[in-house]
Each structure stands twice: as C-alpha cells, then as structure tokens.
Amino acid sequence: MKNEESEILNRFGRDAGFRVPEGYFDDFNERMAAMLPEVEITEVDTKPTLWVRLRPYLYLAAMFAGVWCMMKVFNGFNQNISTEQRVSEVASGIYMENNADEFIMSGCASDYDIMTYEDSVMMDEEAR
C-alpha cells in the first residue's frame, strides 16, 4: 500500500488544486457567527462530579482489595491442606517422630512423654 500511495504522491502531491477567494475564512467566520439563530441552551454543569473524580481511585482500591482477598483465600487454602496433612500425620504417629524436638521445646509434650521419648531413642541407639 505504501508503494501505491507514494506513486500517487509523487505524481500529484497533496495539493488537490482547490482554491478559495482571498480572505474567505475570515469573512465566513464573521458571517456565520452573525447568522446564528437564537437557541435555548440548557445550563449544564460540565464540571466533573465528586463521583467522577473519585471513580478511578475507587476502582484502583477495589482492584487491590480484590487481589488481597484472592491472596488471603489462596493462603487459607494452603493452610487448610497443611493442617489436614498434619492431623493425618499426628494420627499416624509420623508427625510426633519427625517433629519431636518441636513438641518438646514448645511444651506440648508432658514430662512423661519426654521421658518415654528419650528412653525409646536410647533403646534405638543401643539396638544399633
């Protein structure tokens, strides 16, 4: 298309050859302004309302709130999975074995539990 356009441009340029009488536009503007009829104009307040001015910021805030909610939901979903996993691990005793130190340090285990656990560790070492 560029080639076709440049061919026509090279041949004719952008001047169509039309002319207007001298001072035509100045005369026209004056004549036209003078010939405008009386019309009833309804006063309109074209200044943007508070809502129009605040709208972009509110949309932006809503977008961030939406992203924050999605992240919350996503995290909650992940926590639910790990909690379920933990419950099943605790039930099967795997969790206690893997996280014994954590249990002891956090005070979740009673003295009896600690003693039993230490005994079982010693017995394991002796058996080895």
């Binding site: 298309m1 076709e4 356009e5 061919e7 026509i8 041949r11 004719f12 952008r14 001047d15 169509a16 050859g17 039309f18 002319r19 207007v20 009488p21 536009f25 026209f28 503007n29 036209m32 302004a33 010939m35 405008l36 009829p37 019309v39 009833e40 104009i41 309804t42 006063e43 309109v44 307040d45 074209t46 200044k47």
Partner: protein, 187 residues
C-alpha cells in the same frame, strides 16, 4: 495595527458552550477554529466552492441548533466532522436527484464542472485524480480524502466514521487500487 490572537482552549470553550450567557461567543470561537478544516473536508466531497460554502454553513447551523446534544463525551472535532460528513452526503444525494443521477451511481457528475470552476487551478492530472476519487464509493472517498489529504490517523477516522481501523485500512487500500486502475485505463 497590532492584532491579538486569542488562543483556543477547547475544554474552556466546551464549558462555555453549556452556559446561555457564554454559548454564542464560545461557538464563534468554534467556528473560527474549525471552519477551515471542515471546509476542506467538505470541499473534497462536494468539489464546488459555492456548494462547500453552503454545506459548511449548514454544518455549523446544525451544530449550533443541537449544541444541547453535545455532552462532551466525544471530542468536539469528531462531533463536527460527523455533522459535516452527514451534511455533505445529504447535499450530494439532493444534487443527484436534481441532476437525475441514480443514488446508486458514483459521484463523477460532481467533477464535470471542475474545468470551468474559477476556484480550481489544478492541472489536467489533478483534475483526473479528482475524477478517479469521484468514482469511488462514498465511504472509500471519505477514507481516501481523510487519509491522503489530511493525513488523519486511522484511530481518529474510526471515531468519526464508526468503523474499525482494520476496515478503514482495507478501504484505503481498495481506494488506492481503484485509483491506480483508473490511471492505468486513462493514461
């Protein structure tokens, strides 16, 4: 004598257009700002200077009498262009009826008087180009004139003509091909 050139502030003018006390003066500014641009757009459609003058007057009269309908949602230039194009097409259709030309025929009859037009000083090839443009369908003529002569962006044309930019590019391409074919036939 020193003249003071008033700068045109479109936002301020639009604001003034909606107040009865300032509307008339503001519309005077609109006329002064857009008369030349709209005139050339109309002139390329109707070809004759006197016809273009009449259509331009009708365009501004229509814009003024329906100024209440302009709410500032679109650009003022877009709104004025739309009115000018509608007025040009209405005028051409009326002229076709007066000259017993079918509405389905192209607008070549408009160029017939170009040779004797005192406000046309183009040479034979420029007259031939006008003849080629006049054979195009109305929409293609508009697109060609806006793009070729005014170098208007497709996005702006899209707003005025209510057509997608893709369709406008295709229209311009077809117009170019037809003009090329016209010259291949007439050279």
């Amino acid at each position: 004598m020193a003249t003071t050139q008033r700068t045109y502030d479109e936002a301020a003018v639009i604001e003034q257009l909606h107040h009865p006390s300032t509307a008339r003066a503001a519309f005077g500014q609109v006329i002064a700002h857009y008369s030349s641009t709209l005139y050339w757009q109309i002139r390329r459609m109707v070809i004759d200077h006197d016809d273009a003058n009449d259509v331009l007057q009708n365009t501004f009269l229509k814009a003024w009498t329906s100024i209440d309908n302009f709410r500032g949602d679109a650009k003022l230039s877009t709104w004025l262009y739309k009115i000018a194009i509608n007025e040009s097409i209405t005028f051409i259709n009326k002229k076709k009826a007066q000259n017993n030309v079918s509405l389905d025929d192209d607008d070549s009859f408009l160029v017939n008087t170009l040779e004797s037009d005192e406000w046309f000083d183009g040479d034979e090839t420029q007259r031939l180009l006008q003849q080629a443009i006049a054979t195009l369908p109305e929409k293609q003529r508009l697109v060609f004139n806006m793009r070729y002569y005014d170098e208007m962006k497709y996005e702006d044309m899209s707003e005025i003509l209510g057509t997608s930019t893709g369709a406008l590019k295709a229209s311009y391409h077809h117009a170019m091909k037809k003009i090329e074919a016209f010259f291949a036939e007439h050279d």
